[in-house]
Symmetry: C2
């Protein structure tokens, strides 16, 4: 190449000012080979979040249980471990936790000690995460406690049935039972629904199911790092593989767990992969993820689909966070900030 | 460990339910060692965007020019190469490009052929990107053409002076000259300011400077993948290093270019690193980035700082996109979608 041609070629590649003809000429889609690298803990987050980011990859991420008993033991152990985190946090955030049932579904009520007049007629329904298999009992509650504490709105957290007790669509059925009961307690526009990971997917699935059943939409929803496409977790599940220290890999324990819940059902069904559903008519939605999150792509694809469906959607992305790391506890400044912003969105959109 | 203890330890690590005590015990912040990997082109974007993602890393990313003449030659070559993209796109989007000067600053006027009555009194100021050194002349215009085409609002694109002709703060000075002139043409609430990369940083710097000079804020701004912290590009500049095929590395040509512009000035100055400035009082802001963008972190940190400063902020993140890849041309569905959403935000917030 002449020097001038080389400069032009460089320039054309520079800011990717590719002519459509040039794009069409590419016949194979070459993957990107990325060399090994060592990524330091970022300096632009709080020391508390730095400690979370520095934590090694989740142990056992690639050796999930292989028996129903194995999954149940893992879930139960988590529930035991969670008590030590949930109860002190509830105390610090001045919320009370009680158990009960609503139309046969086990729930936790997470109730602020002081409820402003504005929030007295409001109600939030929480649908927990855990790949549809994990986080039974109190293990589900950090997200609910943080939300009740920061929004000052009463929360009902659905302790839905999980494998090996019950499979797809038991989790969704139980969440819908509680939603229908809530519709008898408060006006739809005063109700919010929220959850993260599988709970984010379930929140979206609830909206699809509510449309099918001609139920009114709630006033707003909060969908945190949703497993919105259970078949393809998207590009970030590969770019952030072995960077995210919670989910670690798209072929890890969480995929196994979701398959265990599906129990042979088609994973592309919108009731497991809600990104395949129709979002028209959904209520205003806030979404949250982190830059290291394996489900960053699923979250941003969900936002785009909401916007394309005419739904007002706001996206929050937290620096350096892996999957679901915004709910560790209220002593991490970024977690406080996350729930301050999520609560502000719900308070802005719910009726009063 | 007993079996039960092991299960509990596993569970505690599982969803990162780390007690604060455990966090405090970590004395060193271990980096993450990530093995080499091969990342396929994602299947969940358009074929047109797939071709963009499959493009190899920008050639010469780690061998930037070392002389003023070298930089100027590179910039000029880009400008030549850009003409072939800009003019057909302007035709397709029915916008007219003319040149002129405003109070001595060279500008392009990018004017929709048809302007709805609502937009007749509105005006957008475009501040282009290119690491403060690249994209002179028409090379600056894809973003301006797309915005004019999708918003139907007239755009003035500032062809600010760049090194080696003029150094910091010449770019900002020229942008402010045009902003002050615009304030004499239209009401502040009818004016929007937008730009990407260094242009996103310049947009934020303009707001800081406007506050210093007691000028009114515009009605809304659009800040795309801003180089908001020129000292630390954040965690994504390392997690996405050698994944982003535009910027490629935080120690590449763009850092060299920004240092060339700064000309010895402190890179932490809010007028080069606006993330170090005070965002209170900024107008409603929309931000855009991509999951593979080296400046994903800078963008999300900017959104968080805006929200913490009481500024309404909306964030768009596009699946699989590297830095600034939303402005390639209007024949890529995701680029059309991006500008549909950016234009909708500006149209919602500008006065009329």
């Amino acid at each position: 190449m002449h020097k001038r041609d080389a400069a032009r070629a460089f320039a054309a590649a520079a800011f990717m000012l590719l002519a459509p003809a040039a794009l069409a000429q590419q016949t194979t889609l070459a993957p990107r080979d990325v060399p090994a690298k060592t990524i330091p803990v970022p300096g632009d987050v709080s020391p508390q979040l730095q400690a979370v980011i520095a934590h090694p990859l989740r142990s056992g991420w690639n050796t999930p249980p292989t028996t129903p008993q194995g999954w149940q033991q893992m879930a139960n152990s988590e529930a035991e471990a969670a008590v030590a985190v949930v109860e002190p946090m509830a105390k610090r955030l001045h919320v009370k936790i009680t158990q009960g049932t609503i139309d046969g579904v086990h729930v936790y009520r997470v109730t602020p000690e002081t409820i402003p007049a504005r929030d007295a007629k409001r109600l939030l329904i929480h649908v927990h995460g855990g790949c549809y298999v994990l986080n039974p009992g109190e293990a589900a509650l950090p997200e609910a406690v943080l939300m009740a504490g920061f929004s000052h709105i009463p929360v009902i957290s659905v302790d839905y049935r999980m494998p090996p007790t019950a499979y797809f669509p038991a989790a969704l059925d139980d969440a819908m039972t509680v939603y229908k009961a809530a519709l008898k307690m408060e006006k739809p526009q005063d109700i919010g629904v929220f959850g993260g990971s599988a709970g984010g997917a379930l929140t979206l699935e609830m909206m699809l199911r509510a449309k099918q059943e001609h139920l009114p939409m709630p006033g707003a929803i909060d969908v945190n790092t949703p497993m919105a496409d259970a078949v393809d977790w998207g590009d970030s599940s590969r770019t952030n593989a072995l960077v995210d220290n919670v989910l670690v890999s798209p072929s890890g324990f969480c995929e196994s767990a979701a398959l265990f819940y599906a129990h042979g059902h088609d994973m592309a069904d919108p009731m497991i992969s809600p990104l395949n559903g129709d979002f028209h008519g959904f209520p205003p939605t806030i979404l949250l993820t982190g830059t290291r999150d394996l489900l960053l792509s699923n979250t941003v694809r969900t936002e785009q689909k909401l916007l394309q469906s005419g739904v007002p959607a706001n996206l929050l992305v937290f620096e350096g966070m892996s999957h679901f790391q915004f709910t560790i506890n209220d002593q991490i400044p970024e977690d406080r900030q996350a729930f301050t912003e999520l609560a502000a969105f719900l308070n802005r959109h719910l009726g009063h």
